[in-house]
C-alpha cells in the first residue's frame, strides 16, 4: 500500500467534521449566546409578541416577508444559569459515583474468579454476563418497574414474611439500582479482559515469595488489573451520570438528573436550546476531566481496553 491510499480516509474526515465537529461547535456557540427576536422595522420583540406576529402572518396567507428576525448575542447568562441547577448536578454525580463503586465491588471478584476458570467455562460465564446487556436498555429498566412497584413482586414476597410494603419505586435508591443493573456488565467485561492476561505463575510466584492472600491481591493482582479498573469506571460512570431514562422510569418525576435537565431544554415544554447547550457543555467538560483522571490510574499506558 502506498501514500496515495491515505486519501481514502477523506470521505470519513468530511463526514466527521460535519456530523461530530460542527455539532460540538454549535453546542459551544449556543451555550454562549442568546436569541433575540426583532420585527422587520428593527424593534425588539418578546417571545409572545413574535409568536403573535407569526400567527398573523400565517393567517394573512403568508403575505410578504417572514415577520420575525432572529439574532444571536454573546452572553454568559446561560453558563451562570447552570449554577441554579447545581443541586441536580451534584445529585447526579453522587448517585452515579455510588453506582460505579458498587459495580466495582460487585464485579471485581467475579471478573477475577472467572478469569481463573477453564477457558470453555470462561466463555459461557461471559456469555451470560453479556446476554442482559444485549437486551434493550429500556426493557431492562422496565423489568425493574414491575419488581419495585408498590404492589410489585418484591413487596409481595416480603409480605409473606410480614414485612413491608416498602416505598421502593420513585426513590433515589431505585435510580442507583437501575444504574447498577444496567451498567454492571460494562464493569465486568473490561476487568475480565485485563485479568485473563494475568499469568497464574505471577500469582504463584508471589505466594512462593511469602506473600499471603491479602498481599498477593494488593501487590500483584490489583496493580496488574488497574487498566481494567480505569476503563470499567469510565464505562459505568459516564453513561450513569448522563442518563435520563433510568431516572424517568425508576425515579418518577421527582429525582431529576443532569440528563433530565438537558432533555427538558430540548424536548420539554421549556424549549431553550441555549440553556440546554450550556448544561451539555458543563457535562461534557466534566466527563472529559473524569476520563483524564481515571486514565492516570492506568499509568503504564497499556493499550486501551475500550472493549
Amino acid at each position: 500500500m502506498n501514500r496515495r491510499s491515505r486519501y481514502s480516509a477523506f470521505p470519513y474526515l468530511l463526514w466527521m467534521s460535519v456530523f461530530i465537529i460542527v455539532p460540538l461547535i454549535l453546542i459551544l456557540v449556543f451555550a454562549f449566546t442568546t436569541t433575540v427576536k426583532f420585527d422587520n422595522t428593527g424593534n425588539r420583540l418578546t417571545n409572545d409578541q413574535a409568536a403573535e406576529l407569526i400567527a398573523d402572518w400565517e393567517a394573512s396567507g403568508k403575505a410578504g416577508d417572514f415577520p420575525v428576525k432572529e439574532k444571536f448575542y454573546f452572553t454568559f447568562d446561560n453558563i451562570i444559569q447552570v449554577g441554579n441547577y447545581s443541586s441536580t448536578l451534584i445529585n447526579s454525580v453522587i448517585l452515579a459515583s455510588i453506582a460505579t463503586v458498587i459495580c466495582l465491588f460487585l464485579g471485581y471478584p467475579f471478573a477475577y474468579m472467572v478469569s481463573r476458570m477453564r477457558v470453555s467455562r470462561q466463555k459461557i460465564m461471559i456469555m451470560f454476563i453479556m446476554l442482559p446487556m444485549w437486551m434493550n436498555f429500556l426493557l431492562r429498566t422496565y423489568a425493574w418497574m414491575t419488581l419495585l412497584e408498590k404492589n410489585g413482586w418484591i413487596n409481595r414476597f416480603l409480605e409473606l414474611f410480614g414485612i413491608g410494603p416498602f416505598e421502593m419505586i420513585n426513590t433515589q435508591g431505585a435510580v442507583v439500582l437501575g444504574m447498577i443493573y444496567n451498567f454492571l456488565p460494562y464493569m465486568i467485561l473490561p476487568l475480565y479482559s485485563v485479568m485473563t492476561k494475568i499469568d497464574d505463575h505471577t500469582i504463584e510466584a508471589a505466594y512462593d515469595l511469602g506473600a499471603n492472600r491479602v498481599k498477593a491481591l494488593t501487590k500483584v493482582i490489583l496493580p496488574l488489573s488497574m487498566p481494567g479498573i480505569a476503563s470499567g469506571i469510565t464505562m459505568v460512570f459516564v453513561p450513569a451520570v448522563s442518563t435520563f431514562i433510568i431516572s424517568k422510569l425508576l425515579g418518577g418525576g421527582t429525582n431529576m438528573l443532569i440528563g433530565d435537565l438537558i432533555e427538558l431544554q430540548f424536548l420539554g415544554n421549556t424549549y431553550n436550546p441555549h440553556l440546554g447547550s450550556a448544561i451539555s457543555l458543563v457535562l461534557l467538560v466534566f466527563v472529559l476531566l473524569c476520563i483524564s483522571v481515571t486514565n492516570q490510574l492506568d499509568s503504564d499506558k497499556t493499550e486501551g481496553v475500550l472493549l
Binding site: 466527521m16 455539532p23 454549535l26 447547550s277 451539555s280
Partner: protein, 262 residues
C-alpha cells in the same frame, strides 16, 4: 471450604441479572392485564403484539435504518481505516483521537448536538436524520474493528503480490481485502446491533413521523399497563440467546479445529 461462598456469590449475581428478565417473560404469558396478579396462561399478548401496527412499522423502520446505516458506515469506515493506516504518525494520532470522541462523548450530548445541527440546517427531523446520525455513531466502531486487522497484516504479502505481477488494484483485492474481511464483518455486525439498540441519539433526532422500535418501547413504558411489552421482551431475549449460543458454539468448534491442526 472455599466453594460455598463463591457459589452463593455466583447465584446472587446471576439472580440479580436474570430474575427481572424472567419475571417479564413469565408475565408475558399472564392472562391478567395487571403485572402483579396471575390469572391464567395465555398467548394473547403475542398475538396482540404482532397485530399492533405501530410496533410493526417501528420494527420495519428499525431494520431498514440499521441496514442502510451499517452498510454506509462499513464502506466509509473501511475506506477510512485503510487511509488512516497509510498516514504519517502525527496525522494518524490526531484523527484517531477525534474518532474516539463520539465513543467517550455521553450519548445525550451527541444526540443533542446532532439535533442542533439538523435544526440549524433546517432539515426536518425524521427518517433521513435518523440514518445520518446512526451512520455517525457507527463509523468509529467500524474503524476500530478494521484498523487492528490492517496492523496484523503482513505488509510483505502485498509487496510480494506486486512483485509477482499484480497491479495495485489486484494486489489490494486479492491480498488486503481477504486479510481484513473478518474485521469488516465484525464492524458491520457491531454497527447493526448498536443501530438496532440505540435509543438516546434516536430520541433526539427522530421526528414525530418516523419512530424506531426503542422509541416505541419508550412511549409504551410511559403508559400504566402494557403487557405487549413483556411479550416483546421475551422474544428479544430468545433471539439474543440464540445468537449468542450460535456464536459461542462456532467459536468453540473453531478453537477445537485449531488444536487438531497443531
Amino acid at each position: 471450604m472455599k466453594k460455598l461462598p463463591s457459589r452463593v456469590y455466583y447465584i446472587f449475581l446471576f439472580g440479580f441479572l436474570y430474575i427481572p428478565i424472567f419475571v417479564l417473560i413469565a408475565n408475558s404469558f399472564n392472562a391478567s392485564k395487571s403485572r402483579n396478579v396471575w390469572t391464567g396462561f395465555t398467548f394473547d399478548w403475542y398475538v396482540k403484539l404482532f397485530n399492533d401496527a405501530d410496533i410493526m412499522s417501528a420494527l420495519a423502520n428499525t431494520i431498514i435504518i440499521a441496514l442502510i446505516a451499517s452498510t454506509v458506515a462499513t464502506v466509509l469506515g473501511t475506506a477510512a481505516a485503510i487511509g488512516i493506516f497509510n498516514m504519517k504518525n502525527t496525522a494518524r494520532t490526531v484523527i484517531m483521537n477525534a474518532t474516539y470522541l463520539p465513543i467517550i462523548n455521553p450519548e445525550i450530548v451527541t444526540g443533542v448536538s446532532l439535533m442542533l445541527l439538523f435544526v440549524f440546517l433546517k432539515i426536518n427531523l425524521g427518517f433521513l436524520t435518523l440514518i445520518l446520525s446512526h451512520i455517525t455513531f457507527c463509523l468509529p466502531y467500524v474503524i476500530l474493528c478494521v484498523l487492528p486487522k490492517l496492523r496484523q497484516m503482513d505488509i510483505h504479502l502485498y509487496e510480494a503480490a506486486m512483485d509477482l505481477g499484480c497491479n495495485r488494484r489486484q494486489a489490494f483485492r486479492k491480498v488486503v481485502i481477504p486479510e481484513i474481511t473478518t474485521g469488516i464483518i465484525t464492524g458491520f455486525l457491531m454497527s447493526l446491533t448498536y443501530s438496532i439498540d440505540d435509543f438516546v441519539i434516536s430520541y433526539f433526532t427522530s421526528g414525530p413521523t418516523s419512530q424506531t422500535l426503542p422509541i416505541t418501547i419508550f412511549s409504551m413504558t410511559r403508559r400504566k399497563v402494557s403487557p405487549k411489552l413483556n411479550a416483546l421482551s421475551a422474544i428479544i431475549f430468545v433471539i439474543v440467546l440464540a445468537v449468542l449460543l450460535v456464536m459461542n458454539v462456532r467459536e468453540i468448534k473453531a478453537s477445537k479445529k485449531n488444536k487438531n491442526r497443531r
